[in-house]
């Protein structure tokens, strides 16, 4: 319990953020996509966190942004988890040629310059959130696959697993009974890391003007606010620009640090790709 305090702190902060933004969505009478007051009002009684240049409530926008970011992050994480586990397993366990091919694909994706790829694809294939989630997923499974591959190869080389194979355990049996349980934790933790990265990438793309223009997104808020002429010479940035930046920063740090901490605490964590898969 005492050793686990970082997880409790980080998890607690995430929960607090979720509650705060849930309140903003359901307890706050102001809509997030329609003007509900005068423009650029400072935080006060009518609008808890003020309004933007169109008079839209900022608390409501922030809250919508949290849940849409989280949803996108979790979808991408789940996708990358499934893809990465499958590819990593295939690279570790498939017979000869197929494994090499999967390995090549993994390395191809690892060597891609992430942001430019996302920008090019985002620009070509439009701006709906579903497409965005798909693109981000497609370009974030490779690190998971690499780790899973190393771990699966290591487990497969262990004595008891080889013994199980000698006793006639088929590939599927060994996969289910011995390899998957050891690998899933690693893949899940890395998936959580992908969740954080996906949120960041979505906000970066939105900041560059590639997000869904209708979505409630922190990146979009930041982009709009920082392009508002006069934002530098007034106090508007204090309640218009700063909150989405801080919200994004807090959420990202919580998710990423939690993932990092969990990864370090994984039992029997496989280190790097050094193990020889030729068992």
């Amino acid at each position: 319990m005492r050793k686990n305090w970082p997880a409790f702190v980080l998890g607690g902060m995430l929960a607090a953020l979720a509650v705060f933004f849930a309140l903003g969505l359901w307890a706050n009478p102001r809509p997030a996509d329609l003007p509900s007051g005068d423009s650029l009002q400072p935080p006060g009684a009518g609008h808890l966190l003020g309004t933007d240049n169109l008079g839209v409530d900022i608390y409501a926008q922030l809250s919508g942004g949290f849940f849409s970011s989280m949803a996108l992050g979790l979808v991408c994480a789940a996708g990358a988890f499934v893809l990465g586990t499958a590819a990593g397993m295939a690279a570790a366990l498939a017979p000869g040629g197929a494994a090499a091919a999967v390995d090549l694909v993994i390395h191809l994706f690892l060597a891609m310059p992430q942001l430019p790829v996302l920008v090019v694809l985002g620009a070509f294939f439009g701006q709906s959130r579903a497409v965005l989630a798909l693109i981000i997923t497609l370009f974030s499974w490779a690190p998971i696959a690499k780790q899973v591959r190393a771990a699966a190869a290591a487990v497969r080389g262990r004595m008891y697993v080889r013994l199980a194979a000698r006793y006639g355990g088929g590939l599927w049996y060994i996969l289910r009974a011995h390899i998957l349980p050891e690998v899933l934790g690693l893949a899940a933790v890395n998936g959580l890391g992908v969740c954080g990265r996906a949120i960041l990438q979505e906000s970066s793309l939105a900041y560059l003007g590639l997000g869904d223009p209708l979505a409630r997104s922190w990146g979009l808020m930041i982009s709009k606010a920082s392009r508002f002429s006069g934002i530098y010479f007034t106090d508007y940035w204090l309640w218009w620009l700063l909150p989405p930046v801080l919200a994004l920063l807090c959420t990202l740090l919580c998710v990423r640090l939690l993932a990092r901490w969990l990864e370090r605490r994984l039992p029997g964590r496989a280190t790097g790709g050094k193990q020889d898969g030729a068992a």
């Binding site: 390395h107 310059p113 942001l115 985002g122 620009a123 560059l208 930041i222 740090l253």
Partner: protein
């Protein structure tokens, strides 16, 4: 070794193919588009002959293999297409903007390398530092550089009054000498560099710390101490020189991340590098320019990965 080289070559080819096929896989026909959206009032379409002519002009009537061969030979001759927004060849735009980005990245890489190594050496020397610094560094390295940039821009530059809010140099400035010009450039590059530097330092710090700790337990360090050498000399000559290769490899392996960060940070500060070109290209849907930016960053990324990998291998072999 050969296998790795092949892998990187394959990556480069795959990225190139991706760049070539992407616009051709897209739904829609650019010629239909350009004939329909010429202006608000205009709804005239190209005639079949005109379409034919345009297709021929752009080489789109040829078989795919022929198109590919033409593209490759054009690209190899330095012709990367023509930017719709800038009205200039893509290669020329990139050549103009690349020095800005390269300068930004080089300075911030060098600075974060130096800071990371210095902090790591401090950690090796002092246990108290070793308790605080790693936690602070892991907090910092998960922070996206463009958010740091935004915070710096609004919390430091805007209230300061003398730090520029954007751009690469003062517009229409008349300089009395090279020193003044250099000072102006440095002032504009300061905040972008700092935001990149802050985010990149932790990576070097962790690598340098691990590498130094690994070297610190080697017998030759005990030997050097037994000889009575000064601590400073031991750290510089014995420790740092042996701990250096992984740190340098890390610089190359981290270049991809640094590139992504730099492209975004440039946009925060309106710095006239490749990143702002990318954003403009996105805004005006300038596809040739976008492909040029992508091709350039892919080339840079794969080369730096290969270099980092080569250093790592050499170290493994030695």
């Amino acid at each position: 070794m050969k296998r790795r080289a092949l892998l990187f070559a394959a990556t480069l080819v795959a990225l190139y193919l991706f760049n070539f096929f992407l616009p051709r896989l897209m739904p829609g026909d650019p010629l239909q588009y350009s004939s329909a959206v010429g202006g608000e009032e205009m709804d005239a379409a190209y005639t079949a002959e005109q379409l034919e002519q345009l297709r021929e002009w752009y080489g789109l009537d040829k078989p795919l293999a022929q198109q590919f061969r033409d593209t490759v030979s054009r690209n190899l001759r330095g012709d990367w297409g023509y930017s719709i927004h800038y009205h200039m060849p893509v290669a020329e735009v990139l050549a103009q903007r690349l020095p800005w980005t390269a300068g930004l990245m080089a300075v911030s890489l060098a600075a974060s390398l130096a800071a990371g190594v210095a902090l790591a050496l401090w950690c090796v020397r002092s246990e108290r530092a070793d308790r605080v610094l790693p936690a602070a560094a892991s907090l910092l390295c998960e922070t996206p550089p463009y958010l740091i940039g935004l915070l710096l821009l609004f919390c430091v530059a805007a209230p300061s009054g003398w730090l520029p809010l954007g751009g690469g140099e003062t517009a229409f400035a008349v300089y009395t000498g090279p020193v003044q010009r250099l000072a102006d450039l440095a002032l504009h590059a300061l905040l972008p560099t700092v935001s990149l530097w802050l985010v990149m330092t932790p990576g070097f710090f962790f690598t340098a710390r691990a590498s130094c700790l690994a070297v610190a337990s080697r017998p030759y360090l005990t030997g050097a101490r037994a000889k009575g050498l000064a601590e400073g000399r031991i750290r510089r000559v014995y420790l740092l020189r042996n701990a250096a290769p992984p740190i340098i490899a890390r610089a190359f392996l981290g270049l991809g991340q640094a590139l992504g960060g730099a492209l975004l940070v440039e946009n925060v500060f309106g710095y006239p590098g490749v990143g702002t070109v990318m954003r403009e290209a996105v805004r005006y849907r300038d596809y040739p320019m976008l492909q040029g930016v992508f091709g350039l960053s892919a080339l840079l990324m794969v080369c730096s990965l290969a270099a980092g990998d080569w250093i790592n291998r050499k170290r493994g072999a030695a």
